[in-house]
């Protein structure tokens, strides 16, 4: 089946024409860099997204700490991840890149802090 998708790898947003058989990629055209076909393949086989959100802190200079998944996670796991994030409280000072939760939900990615936060 042929379909059109927009590459979301960068702000250019190239229009890709993708031919696929279920979750098997057959051909891609329309890309302007090598990331296009890679994105199309991933999107057809198993769509992945980077999760970014914020978690509650206790005793730090801001109430919320922005965090991200160190790598993209399966798109279908986003809401399960959000539920898990709501149970986290960060109480120790962090810097950008500090791992807040290792191997988050067993997905093989870490939840990492996006900024430094110290005690007030």
């Amino acid at each position: 089946m042929k379909r059109v998708m927009t590459c979301i790898e960068c702000p250019k947003g190239c229009r890709l024409e993708v031919e696929a058989d279920g979750s098997r990629l057959i051909s891609v055209s329309g890309e302007t860099c090598e990331r296009g076909p890679a994105y199309a393949r991933q999107e057809i086989e198993a769509p992945m997204r980077t999760l970014t959100t914020s978690v509650l802190t206790r005793g730090l200079e801001l109430k919320m700490l922005p965090v991200r998944s160190s790598k993209p996670i399966p798109k279908g796991k986003l809401f399960a991840a959000m539920d898990a994030v709501k149970l986290i409280t960060v109480a120790a000072p962090v810097s950008a890149g500090t791992v807040v939760v290792p191997d988050f939900l067993g997905l093989g990615v870490d939840l990492v802090a996006c900024r430094g936060l110290g005690k007030p």
Partner: protein
Amino acid sequence: MAAALAARAAGVEDVLLLERDQHLGGILNQCIHPGFGLHHFKAELTGPEYADRFVRLVKEDRGIEVSLRSFAVRLTKDKELSYLRPGALEEVKARSVILATGCRERTREMIQVPGSRPAGIYPAGLAQKMVNIEGWIPGREAVIIGSGDIGLIMARRMALEGVAVKAVIEIQKTSRGLVRNVVQCLEDFGIPLYFQHRVSMIRGRDRVEKVDVVKVDDGLKDIPGSGFGITCDTVLVSVGLIPENELLEMAGAEIDRRTNTPVAPGVNLTSIPGVFACGNACKVYDLVDWVTRDSELAGKMAAKYLGKQ
């Protein structure tokens, strides 16, 4: 920060960096989504991560004095600057000034959406600050007016937080936001985007209860009989940004009334020699990478003005 660092690199000895907030980084701190830095750092960063890379460099530089919680209240054409910081009103005389004051959001009032004035109507960027910095959820069922990038990003953010985002209403035929944001923020979450529609009425006594939506033709006129209602308790307004140039105006520089940007022959320039405006204060950018590129240029221009290089 990019302008300060570039000015230092070009030989300026003494830089004072004033920041209104208690942290450096400005609006990047509340933009916790990824997508920043693909050009400048060749890596996909979140806003706080992008800011953090500059904060580290600024803190290392002994020639940059950072004054936080400092609000500039006066600027003259002779580059005398007054600012408030906790417990003091400071006066400084600079030889060159770079304004990196960013933008304000356009509001509901500016697009004249009729209706009552209940609680629950927020500019999208304010809602972003509430969710990402303050940890408050603005409502349970939201409609977003305007499909600019901030509105799209907030649609996804609220959906992730469990808010039912019922629709994004765009009066034009296309989104003003990036296509990738329409895809990853709306399509991923099944949020409908109505092009050529407008919110004709916001209803509700104390809290938003419902919005009326109507389809418009190519001349932006309502199409009779096309109206429908959407129940919601929250309306986010994402209808553009206005450069913040009040200080520049106070100093007597020429301002374009239509765009609120400095009248000048080129990027970063103003009608006062030695006073520069960079970033979103100069023009509204869609990518922070280009803000950095042009702000670095502003730092170099200020250095050149001071006879460096």
